[in-house]
């Protein structure tokens, strides 16, 4: 993947497939600690411990269209390549979470990339799922919650309407620029 935001898009697709109704995404850019940490958690179907223990192996997949599942193993490798770390936890029937920490100044770290576009794409994928997106840059933080958007839109308008998706994307993009103070 050329951007970390594309890994996030892919990882959230797993949560969607797992039947989650709420997905939480936390991006923490901490320059002082030299870490970029990405956490994604969901309340989907989860995995049993036997499956989980081997899930970063590409040959572990419940996919039927091909024999390998690449998403998690690629995300893990990308983080570890920078000297960072990766962890995943899950409970059957409860949900799944994973965290990838990238060494911020590693030359092997991909750019974070366009998180606003990733968010509008996952909302579009299933507009009935709620997303909480928290992005910190050093000590500045902003939070986006689709439940607040729904309150404004009411029941007639789906989050998947092109105008709404575009507004969400621009909104998140502006907020990220604000917290980063033009640093990206």
């Amino acid at each position: 993947m050329v951007e970390i935001s594309l890994h996030v898009l892919d990882i959230v697709q797993n949560s969607i497939k797992a039947g989650a109704s709420l997905v939480e995404i936390i991006i923490d850019e901490n320059v002082a600690d030299n870490l970029l940490t990405i956490t994604v958690s969901d309340n989907g179907c989860g995995m049993d411990s036997e499956f989980l223990s081997d899930v970063t192996n590409p040959f572990r997949t419940t996919r039927t269209t091909r024999k390998v599942g690449l998403g998690i193993s690629m995300f893990k490798s990308a983080a570890e390549l920078t000297g960072g770390s990766f962890e995943i936890w899950s409970e059957l029937g409860k949900g799944t979470g994973l965290r990838a920490a990238f060494v911020y100044d590693s030359i092997d770290r991909q750019p974070l990339g366009d998180m606003a576009s990733t968010m509008s794409t996952v909302i579009h994928a299933n507009p009935d799922i709620d997303y909480v997106y928290t992005h910190s840059y050093n000590h500045n933080t902003f939070e986006f919650d689709t439940r607040e958007i729904r309150t404004v839109l009411g029941s007639e308008i789906s989050l998947s309407q092109p105008e709404v998706l575009k507004w969400i994307e621009n909104y998140i993009k502006n907020e990220i620029e604000n917290i980063c103070g033009g640093a990206i």
Binding site: M1, L6, L9, D10, Q13, K17, R63, T65, R66, G69, L70, G71, M74, D114, S117, T118, T121, H124, A125, E143, F144, D145, E148, I149, V152, L153, G154, E156, I157, Q161, P162, E163, V164, L165, K166, W167, Y171
Partner: protein, 124 residues
């Protein structure tokens, strides 16, 4: 969250259009592959180009959705178009420019762009 007032404006504007966008037999369906293989090959900018073009041209009879891996990973990004009353058109190896072109040719004018179809890709 601030600027929710702006969203309220969008709500009012969109409400008028929503009724026109009711899914029915005449609507065109567009499906973009969004599994790992598609995403790695560039499906996100393809999706964005399609959505932008639909918004820009104010197209109201078209639905865009996402799907997982359809098992043709080396031909991703893949976009399938279902025109009412005709067979599915499968476009392969898409990029943002090609995607904008199929919105204009296929979705607006109902014409197949042969060079981007899976049939053309398999001949090579």
């Amino acid at each position: 969250m601030k600027s929710l007032a702006e969203l309220e404006q969008i709500r009012k504007q969109t409400l008028a259009k929503v009724n026109l966008r009711k899914e029915d037999d005449d609507s065109i369906r567009v499906v973009v592959g969004m599994a790992t293989c598609g995403i790695a090959a560039g499906a996100r900018p393809v999706m964005k180009a399609i959505m932008d073009e639909i918004e820009k041209r104010n197209i109201s009879n078209c639905y865009v959705t996402q799907t997982g891996c359809i098992g043709l990973c080396r031909l991703e990004p893949i976009v399938e178009v279902y025109l009412p009353g005709s067979e599915k058109i499968t476009y392969v190896k898409m990029d943002a420019d090609k995607a904008a072109k199929i919105v204009n040719e296929t979705i607006v004018n109902g014409k197949v762009v042969n060079e981007y179809t899976i049939g053309a890709a398999k001949e090579n």
